[in-house]
């Protein structure tokens, strides 16, 4: 009777679903009583429940109601009338009676709910119904794992499952159009859980028949999961299967409007369809909202993930998506000035002359996090020099737009023999690194400047440390070459990332390690061990020092280069983390996963602050817009989705690619989004237009229901074929030249 005890507390806590649970309980009670009466032993427990919880008066009334309900159901009209007269109950609709009743006797109603579940599973031996009722009412985020694991042990008549399901199907088909789409969401999770229940209870043939009959009805984007399911027909197989574990341990989240939910509930109560009701309560989380039911396209755009949609409150947290203030560096307009001024020691004169760069960085973005929210490394002299270089380059940057598209340079990896797995460019586009399936990492210089390593320690002793060109002298001329190979991993290298200062290179591999390489000595400095499974991606922070890694163990880890253990672990994804990306302000990281969601994590406290659902396949690429406001994600389904981080909304869907999108990049000013795919094309999208087209009014912001433009073709600015070369990395140079890279596949 856990539900009974919990109920008052939860009722206090629950603001939003409060009335819901009340209705819920009352309705349940009514139908439950109807079912209870014919079987005396159960009926006695049901009446004893309320006796403890509620007052005796309410109990009487409740029993009366139950009797009335029963008589009514069996068309004993005369008897109903007599009873009514004698009991003095007004002729009301059942629903309102129930509500009155619930309002007057809260505890009793809750108990009625419990009895409902009890009576439903008369063959059920465990005490799960009470527990099962609890999460549904409380909407608890963390289900008791033990309970969930044993949840399937209850027995229903396996032969009836098909009937239950098709009954629901008929019902959904018969409801009004506006509700149908919403209620159709139920099919998939119900189907999965009913199937698993059958399998768990060793009804193999029934499970197979059930699957055969109804698997065709499911949405096409669940095909991958269905394939996994269809292979699973034995209880023993459920143990090691990760997909299944996800289904069992996490609740499938559905967003349904209140009206539709009422319909559904009424139907289930009328039909006494307790099997389904039970599953809904145990394994589903129904996020009820007030307002218009959503349309099919709205639902489709958001569904598809392994565990349904994100709960609305999951995306409510405030995200500081603004950029950090740029450190103030004197930006000389040209070299001669710089030398002249500096020598004369009056650099201040420059200040008023500073152009937009300086003025922009002065204002603090209201949406930006505090400058020291995350401690960032201090700028070194070399970093400052680089910043100056960057700003100079930025003045020569080409403004892109629909009329002026970028030129594209393609870096083709030849003779890679299908072995190229990852590519990265340095920010200044001077180096390119490739990770290969043969466990090597190769670094090329793409400028005439060759790669040189530092001399050995013995030789370094010999050089004159006082000389001006000491930095030049420490380099070993003999080692100069166009490319260097880094050996160290013992499995395919799935991700590489340059540090912003070009001194380090990160690589992650199937061997479960992330390695940090020095680009001065071309040796491995650290092997970070923490992931015990393949690491799919790693990424340096835009400010260096921190990096993120994610892999098969479903946990993303935040590291600092000088710590051998992770600083943060971000757990929550239900499947492999396939790609990672730092927010430009380095306060957040985004991770894409094979569970078809994107999550945004706060580095400060490790919380998950955004969950984006809508992809229909594993996500393989992420990109933040340069202003930090938007996120783009690309998946194996070939679609690119755009997200508004501040509001936590999907704001665009870019359709066009026919294969996995392995690379996404915004141009330096954010006007163009470039996407590169396995289908051997680079596509350019008008991101400004995509962002502007969506007006985020208060309503959509509040509900998260967006109407996507039907056609993303007008956002497509160009499609550029490669020569049978899948595009696996894209990079905009500081002057907005687009670099693409991939391995030629003859």
């Amino acid at each position: 009777m856990a539900a009974v005890q919990d109920a008052p507390v939860e009722a206090d806590n629950e603001k939003e679903i409060k009335t819901e649970t009340l209705n819920d309980a009352a309705g349940n009670h009514a139908s439950a009583a109807g079912g209870v009466i014919p079987s005396p032993p159960v009926a006695s427990t049901s009446s004893s429940g309320p006796a403890k919880a509620g007052g005796p008066g309410s109990e009487e009334q409740q029993t009366l109601m139950a009797v009335l309900q029963f008589l009514k159901k069996n068309n004993f009209v005369g008897a109903v009338d007599v009873l009514r007269r004698e009991a003095g109950i007004l002729e009301d609709s059942d629903e309102s009676q129930g509500q009155e009743l619930a309002a007057s006797a809260l505890g009793g109603a809750e108990a009625g709910d419990a009895t409902c579940t009890l009576s439903r599973a008369s063959s059920c031996t465990t005490s799960t119904p009470a527990v099962a009722a609890a999460p549904a009412k409380g909407g608890e985020d963390q289900p008791d794992v033990n309970v969930v694991l044993s949840a399937y042990s209850q027995q229903g008549d396996p032969a009836l499952y098909q009937g239950y399901y098709s009954g629901l199907k008929k019902f959904v088909e018969s409801v009004l159009d506006c509700h149908r789409a919403e209620l159709s969401q139920l099919f998939y999770p119900l189907f999965v859980h009913m199937y698993l229940e059958l399998v768990y209870n060793n009804h193999e043939t029934e499970a197979k028949a059930f699957f055969e009959k109804f698997s065709g009805d499911q949405e096409c984007y669940y095909q991958d999961d269905l394939r996994v399911l269809s292979g699973l027909t034995k209880k023993e197989h459920m143990k090691g299967n990760e997909t299944l574990l996800d289904f069992r341990t996490s609740k499938f989240v559905l967003r349904i409007s209140r009206d539709s939910y009422q319909l559904l509930k009424r139907h289930l109560q009328e039909r006494q369809n307790n099997q389904i009701w039970n599953i809904i309560q145990e394994h589903l989380y129904i996020d009820i909202f007030d307002g218009m039911p959503r349309s099919k396209s709205q639902i489709d755009s958001m569904s598809g993930s392994l565990a349904g949609e994100a709960k609305r409150e999951a995306n409510k947290a405030k995200v500081f998506y603004g950029l950090l203030k740029e450190p103030e560096i004197d930006v000389p307009l040209d070299d001669e000035d710089e030398e002249g001024e500096n020598e004369e020691g009056k650099p201040k004169k420059k200040k008023p002359k500073k152009d937009s760069m300086g003025s922009k960085s002065k204002k603090q973005d209201p949406n930006a996090p505090q400058q020291n929210r995350i401690p960032l490394p201090e700028l070194k002299d070399s970093d400052k020099l680089d910043k100056i270089m960057y700003m100079k380059e930025a003045t020569k940057r080409i403004r892109l737009g629909p009329e002026s598209l970028p030129s594209i340079c393609f870096y083709t990896f030849l003779n890679a023999y299908q072995g190229l797995t990852a590519v990265d460019f340095t920010d200044d586009s001077s180096l390119i690194a490739g990770g290969f399936a043969d466990s090597t990492v190769r670094v090329w210089s793409v400028t005439p400047k060759k790669l040189r390593s530092v001399k050995s320690a013995a030789d370094l002793n010999l050089i004159d440390k006082e000389s001006d060109d000491v930095l030049e002298r420490i380099m070993d001329e003999k080692s100069a070459s166009e490319s260097k190979i880094l050996y160290g991993h013992s499995g395919p290298v799935y991700g590489v990332s340059f540090s912003p200062d070009r001194n380090y290179l990160l690589s992650c591999s199937e061997d479960g390690t992330v390695r940090l390489w020095s680009l001065q000595t071309f040796t491995c400095l650290v092997g970070y061990k923490g992931h015990n499974y393949p690491v799919w991606d790693t990424q340096f922070s835009p400010y260096g020092y921190y990096f993120i890694s994610g892999g098969h163990d479903r946990v993303a880890r935040l590291w600092a280069t000088d710590h051998y253990q992770p600083l943060r672990m971000f757990a929550g994804h239900l499947a492999d983390i396939t790609c990672t990306q730092f927010h430009p302000n380095s306060n957040y990281v985004a991770t894409g996963s094979a569970d078809r969601t994107v999550r945004l994590w706060d580095i400060l406290n490790g919380n998950c602050v955004r969950i984006f659902t809508g992809h229909k396949g594993p996500i393989h690429s992420l990109a933040f817009s340069p202003n930090g406001k938007y996120l783009a994600s690309g998946a194996t389904d070939g679609r690119v989705l755009l997200w508004d981080i501040g509001h936590g909304l999907m704001i665009g869907e870019l359709k066009g690619h026919t294969d996995t999108v392995y690379s996404l990049k915004f141009s330096r000013d954010g006007e163009i989004l470039a996407s590169g795919s396995m289908d051997n094309t680079v596509r350019l999208w008008d991101s400004i237009k995509a962002f502007d087209d969506i007006e985020t009014d208060d309503f959509t912001a509040a509900t998260g229901h967006i109407h996507l433009p039907e056609n993303s073709q007008e956002l497509l600015l160009g499609t550029y074929m490669t020569k049978s070369t899948p595009v696996i990395h894209l990079h905009f140079t500081r002057r907005n030249l687009l670099l693409a890279a991939g391995a030629y596949n003859p």
Partner: protein, 647 residues
């Protein structure tokens, strides 16, 4: 996993087949091989679990593929999935190339061919391919200002590998000397091409040069040289041809099938070129056929297309026939044989046309006739042989070494590999040429030998050198064929010929008798498979046809009487009304060519009673074409023949 016995059958049993399944017997077999006896229900349980685990591993392995940004799931991916789930990895399947999957028909057994590798030899090998290019990055401006392709889209980069100076020089020297005038230099160059281990990087360039056959179709000499170049490349043990096989094959096919410009002039001996190209084709196919899947069917399809196209000149048909012949007797059985009745009518028409203007066509027709004859004779012989081997080996038993498999191994020219053969049954071939208008061998059913023999006999009559009889008594002394050259005219009048045919309607018994031939045919003394293997593909089909025609023409005029039709008995045509004996002549001729040593053609014709008007037919085309005959085929049987023969 290696042995999936009866997998197809087990799957057919289940009404829904979501997955490939490992049947129970396989599990039991595997257990037995590990020394464990399984009871029925244990095996059943285990089977299901094995299937499930395999599927799970496959699903897990796909993520390794996705992260490696590949489309192809490799064995390595699968092994990684196994390793991460603490299962022992499968060794020995990591090769990049696809492993040939072979069936044994008798046992319904499929297996991956697993040749023994001599590790010592491998370890001490010196022929490690060199010139494998280093991984490198090249940059090019693909799109300037977002528009304008500097190079056409979708083409292969002009320089996939940048050539070193040495390679470039080598390339220039080799091509110059092969295509140049000096035969000695050419020989040296070809020899080097055959054995040089460092030219992997040049392969695409050579392939490109070879694809130039299309531009020199007027020059037999050049075509020959290019074909020799193909041969050298194919024979080079250091080269991995990979997908270039397709390109080479298409070049060779061009030489076999196309009505080359050189063949307009009858003096040009393009026949030899076609023969050589056909040989080369079979050589490429037998040595490198594994590299390209579905190659066998594509080749068969294009050969068949040419053969069934009546508009094509006869020399193309000839090419198709010798091509099929070179691909082995099964190819002949599948493509040529079913097509023969339709083709025969056309060919007969040409051969029966004795008009002057037809002489050239007729000569070509004889060429085709000879080629077909050689092909079907080998077909009969090999089929009989395979049957006899099967009969000896016992039904359902594994073939003995020297049986079908043995034949395949030792003499590649004789039967196609089992791998492609298994494809039609599995339905793979159908998608290979999807959209193609039906492949005749798709629903092909083997014709029993006796029926085949009957039909062929109805076409060729006694020209058919292979004989079958009904019993030992008859078989020991077959009446006609013994010393009879294939094209020798029969001495019997038409009526007897029919009788003869009827008498010889064969009823094949297990002990067949292959009559030895004394006409110098290469396979005349064939008695055992080992002999077959001894005669390798060095013997071209045409060489035997040449010999045959030579031997027949060596006794000209020996033919006293009989209708000309007897030469090519046509069961499908109405017999001519018997008349007074008519004389016919055989005229042997000599075709002169630059390189041909006494290639002859011969033709027979009867004097027409009234030298009536020669049907005035002109060829719009210079090349002999069957399809262009002006008159309906039926009428040719009683057309007027002319004595005039331009020599």
């Amino acid at each position: 996993m290696r042995v999936c016995r009866g997998g197809a059958a087990a799957m057919a049993d289940r009404e829904e087949r979501r997955f490939a399944e490992v049947p129970r017997e396989s599990i039991r077999l595997m257990a037995e091989s590990a020394g464990v006896e399984l009871s029925d229900d244990v095996a059943a349980l285990l089977t299901e679990d094995v299937c499930y685990r395999l599927r799970e591993a496959t699903q897990n392995s796909s993520q390794f593929m996705r992260h490696a940004k590949r489309r192809k799931l490799t064995v390595e991916d699968f092994n990684r999935a196994l390793r991460w789930s603490n299962v022992e990895a499968v060794c020995g399947y990591g090769a990049q190339d696809t492993l040939p999957f072979r069936p044994i028909k008798e046992g319904d057994l499929f297996f991956v061919e697993d040749r023994e590798v001599n590790l010592v030899e491998l370890a001490l090998a010196t022929n490690i391919p060199k010139g494998c290019a280093e991984t490198m990055v090249r940059v090019q401006v693909s799109y300037l200002d977002g528009k304008g392709n500097l190079e056409p889209q979708g083409t292969v980069p002009s320089a996939v590998q940048t050539l070193s100076d040495d390679l470039l020089k080598y390339y220039q020297q080799i091509t110059r000397s092969i295509l140049g005038e000096d035969p000695h230099l050419m020989k040296v160059a070809l020899l080097d091409l055959q054995s040089n281990s460092k030219i992997a990087a040049l392969l695409p360039y050579f392939v490109y040069v070879i694809s130039g056959v299309k531009s020199v179709s007027h020059d037999l000499e050049q075509l020959n040289r290019l074909l020799h170049m193909v041969k050298s490349l194919v024979q080079n043990p250091y080269l991995y041809l990979g997908s270039y096989v397709r390109s080479l094959v298409s070049s060779v096919m061009y030489c076999i099938l196309e009505p080359l410009a050189a063949s307009i002039n009858p003096l040009n001996d393009h026949w030899t070129l076609r023969d050589y190209a056909a040989l080369l084709l079979s050589h490429i196919f037998w040595t490198h056929g594994d590299l390209v899947s579905g190659l066998y069917h594509q080749i068969l399809l294009s050969l068949q297309k040419v053969l069934s196209d009546p508009v094509r000149p006869l020399c193309s048909h000839y090419g198709a026939v010798v091509g099929l012949h070179a691909l082995g007797w099964k190819a002949v059985e599948r493509v040529l044989y079913p097509h023969l009745p339709a083709y025969w009518a056309n060919l007969q028409a040409v051969l029966d046309d004795y008009s002057v203007s037809n002489a050239q066509v007729k000569a070509d027709g004889h060429k085709v006739y000879g080629a077909i004859l050689v092909a079907v004779e080998r077909l009969l012989k090999m089929k009989a042989l395979s049957l006899s081997v099967n009969a000896e080996g016992g039904i359902g038993g594994l073939p003995r070494p020297g049986g079908i498999m043995g034949c395949r191994e030792s003499s590649p020219g004789l039967s196609p590999p089992p791998e492609p053969l298994s494809e039609p049954g599995l339905g793979i071939a159908s998608h290979l040429h999807a959209g193609g208008a039906g492949c005749p061998w798709e629903d092909w059913t083997p014709v029993p030998l006796p029926a085949m023999y009957c039909e062929l006999y109805s076409f060729f009559g006694d020209s058919l050198a292979v004989r079958f009889s009904t019993g030992p008594s008859l078989g020991n002394s077959p009446p006609a064929p013994l010393a009879q050259p294939p094209t020798t005219r029969k001495e019997l009048p038409g009526g007897t010929a029919n009788l003869d045919t009827a008498r010889k309607m064969p009823q094949l018994t297990a002990n067949l008798n292959i009559s030895p031939r004394q006409d110098g045919s290469p396979h005349g003394e064939l008695t055992a498979p080992s002999m077959v293997s001894g005669r390798s593909l060095a013997r071209s089909s045409s060489s035997s046809s040449v010999q045959r025609s030579r031997s027949s023409s060596s006794r000209p005029g020996q033919r006293p009487s009989g209708l000309s039709r007897d030469v090519f008995p046509k069961a499908r045509f109405n017999p001519l009304p018997a008349g007074p004996p008519i004389f016919s002549f055989v005229i042997g001729g000599r075709q002169m060519g630059r390189r041909c040593q006494g290639r002859r053609f011969q033709t027979t014709f009867t004097p027409s009673q009234p030298l009536s008007a020669v049907s005035s037919r002109t060829y719009a085309h210079k090349l002999p074409v069957i399809g262009r005959v002006g008159k309906p085929v039926r009428r040719w049987t009683c057309s007027q023949y002319s004595l005039h023969l331009p020599l």
